[in-house]
C-alpha cells in the first residue's frame, strides 16, 4: 500500500515532464537501454555488412584454389588463411555467411508460420481441436529434431530447399506452445470475449484481434528461432548433409574437419562466425524481451 502510494506520487510529480510517446518509440527506448542488446544489434549489422557487402570489396572466388592448402591466417596475404583445397577462407566466410543467414531466416519463417498456425488454432478453439493439435505438437517433440531432418534430407536429397524445409518442419513446436498459451490468456480478456459474443468471425478474431496482441512473445521466440536455425543448418552441413554446391559456414567446417589437427583455424574460424552471429541474435532477443514485455521488466 505504501509502495503504490509512493509510485503514484512519483508519477504525479513527473507527469508535467511526461510526453505522450508512440508505443513503438517507447519500446525502442527500452531496447536501447539494454546495452548488451545494443551491442548484439551492432554486431549483427556488422556481420551482415561483412557477408553481403564484403564480396564486392574482397572479390576472391571462394571456390577457387588460390594458394597452397592450410596457409596460416595472416600469411601470404590471406587474412584468415586457406582451407584444405587452398581456397581463401575469408572469401568463404563472406559467401558462406550469406547462405547460413538466408537459410536460418527462411527456416525460421517456416517454423514460425507452422507454429503460430497450430498454436493459434489450438488456443482459440480449445476442446477437441486443442487436444488433437497439442498431441500433434507433442509427437513432434518426441522425434529428435536433428535425426528427423537428417531423414528428410536423406530421403529427398540435399538441396538448399530441402535443407531449409527440413529445418523449418521439425522446429516449430516451441513457437506453437508459446502461441497457444498466449491465445489461451488473451481469449479470456474482456474485449475478446465481447467480440466473440458479437458476430465477429473466427478468422477475424484469430488474426486481427488476438494475434496482434499475442505477438510480443512470438516475436521474441521467432528471433531465437533464427539463431537456432543457423545452428541447425551448421550441424547438418557439418555432418555433410547440405547442398554440396553451395558454401555455408557449417559446410566450411564440415569439409575441413578431417584436418583439424593440422589446421584447426580452418574449423575454428567459421565456428566462431556462427557463434558470434547466434550470440548477437540472442542478445537482441533479450533486449526485445525487455522492450516487449513491460510486465517482466518491472520485476
Amino acid at each position: 500500500m505504501a509502495k503504490t502510494t509512493a509510485s503514484a506520487q512519483t508519477a504525479d510529480q513527473e507527469s508535467p515532464e511526461l510526453k505522450i510517446t508512440h508505443p513503438l518509440s517507447e519500446m525502442a527506448a527500452m531496447f536501447f537501454r539494454n546495452y548488451a542488446a545494443v551491442a548484439g544489434l551492432v554486431l549483427l549489422v556488422f556481420i551482415i555488412i561483412f557477408t553481403f557487402l564484403g564480396p564486392y570489396i574482397h572479390t576472391t572466388d571462394p571456390f577457387e584454389m588460390v594458394w597452397a592448402p592450410f596457409t596460416v591466417p595472416g600469411e601470404e596475404g590471406f587474412l584468415l588463411g586457406t582451407d584444405y583445397l587452398g581456397r581463401d577462407i575469408l572469401a568463404a566466410m563472406m559467401v558462406g555467411g550469406q547462405v547460413s543467414m538466408a537459410i536460418g531466416l527462411a527456416a525460421a519463417v517456416i517454423s514460425v508460420v507452422i507454429g503460430v498456425t497450430v498454436g493459434a488454432f489450438a488456443g482459440y478453439y480449445g476442446g477437441v481441436i486443442e487436444e488433437a493439435l497439442m498431441r500433434f505438437t507433442e509427437f513432434f517433440q518426441v522425434l529428435p529434431t536433428l535425426l528427423f531432418s537428417m531423414v528428410i534430407v536423406a530421403l529427398f536429397g540435399a538441396s538448399l530447399l530441402t535443407v531449409t524445409l527440413a529445418i523449418g518442419v521439425v522446429s516449430w513446436t516451441a513457437v506453437a506452445r508459446v502461441t497457444r498459451s498466449e491465445f489461451l490468456r488473451i481469449r479470456e480478456l474482456e474485449y475478446v470475449a465481447a467480440a466473440r459474443s458479437g458476430s465477429a468471425r473466427d478468422g477475424y478474431l484469430i488474426f486481427r484481434v488476438i494475434l496482434p496482441n499475442a505477438l510480443p512473445p512470438i516475436i521474441v521466440q521467432a528471433n531465437l528461432m533464427v539463431g537456432s536455425a543457423i545452428l541447425f543448418e551448421a550441424a547438418l552441413s557439418f555432418l555433410g548433409l547440405s547442398d554440396p554446391n553451395t558454401m555455408s559456414w557449417g559446410q566450411v567446417i564440415g569439409s575441413n574437419r578431417p584436418y583439424i589437427l593440422d589446421a584447426g583455424f580452418a574449423v575454428a574460424i567459421p565456428g566462431f562466425a556462427i557463434f558470434l552471429t547466434v550470440l548477437a541474435i540472442s542478445l537482441i532477443g533479450d533486449g526485445l524481451n525487455d522492450a516487449l514485455n513491460p510486465k517482466l521488466r518491472q520485476r
Binding site: M1, A2, K3, T5, A6, Q9, T10
Partner: protein, 332 residues
Amino acid sequence: MDTDPLLSVKDIVVDFKTRYGNARVLDHVSLDVESGEVLGIVGESGCGKSMTALSIMGLVPDPPGKITSGSIKIAGIELVGMDLDRLRQIRGKDIGMIFQEPMTSLNPVFTVGEQIAESVRLHENAKPKAAMERAVEMLKAVEIPEAETRAGAYPHQLSGGMRQRVMIAMALACRPRVLIADEPTTALDATVQAQIFDLLQDLQEETGTAIILITHDMGAIAELADTVAVMYAGRVVEKGTVDAVLSRPQHPYTKGLITCVPHLEPEPPVERHELLEIPGVVPAITELGKGCAFAPRCSEAIGKCEAEKPQLLATGKAHFAACWVAQQEQAR
C-alpha cells in the same frame, strides 16, 4: 527497572533502500515483553508491525533492509549483530513465530509431521523417531483430530485453519519463551479465526509462553492481550496496559482505531467519526516530514504537530503516548 524483561526491544531503527530513497521502516521502536505476558501490537497495514516481528527474529530482508541501530535482548542476550549461527539456535528455540499466510508458509514438499519434527531435531538433538513423536504430540496439542495420520499429510491436503494449527504446533514444538504471532488469523474464515484465538489463549495459559500478537483486530487485543502497543508509520505512538489504552486512549490515532470497533467503547466515549474510519491513508514512508506522521490525518492537530516529532512520554500509570496534544493536556 530492576530485572531485565524477558524480551526487550530498544530504539530499533530499520531502514530500507528503495528506488525513491531511504525509507525508515521502523523509527526508534521500543517494546518490552515480560515472561508470560501477551503484548498486542496494532496498526494499519504497512505501519511496521510485521517488520518489528522480523527484526526480533533477525529476518529483516537484507538487502534492501537493515537494522541501522538499536538493541533487541532476550533474557539479557543481545540479538542485534549476533552471528547467524548463534541466532539460529535462538530462532525456533527461544522465539517461535507464526506467519500471516498459512497457505504459503508451510513447505509444500514435506509432510507437516516432518516440518514440526525438523524443529525438534534441530534444537533438541532429538532422534528422528522421538522428534516425530513430539510432532504428533504437538498436533494433538493444537487439537488436530487423528494427529497420527495427519502428521503424514502434505500441507496441500489440509485446510487453511488446519495449516495455521500446524504452524502453531511448529512454533511451539520447542517450548519457546516468546511466541510471535503475525496476524495469525487474517487469511482465515471468521469462525476459524475465533477458534485459532481460543487455541492461542488456551496454549498460553497452559505453557506460560509470552506472546506478541500482531493484529489489526482491536477486539482480539481486548480479549487476549495484557499490554498493547499502537504503531503508526514505523513508530510506536501509544503503549500501555490494555485496560489503560482501550479505556483512556490518548493518541488520536488510537482513538480512531478503537471507534472503528463498535463494541469497544472508551470511557468517556470519544467523539465518533461518522464512517467509523480514520480519514486519509497511511503516508508512504519515504515522504514523512519532520513532524508527527499522523498530523495530516489528525483532527486535533496543532501547529507544533507539523513541525516537530512528539516523543513517547508517560501520560498516566503504565501508559505512554507520542502526541503533543495529549502531552499538553497531561501537563496542564
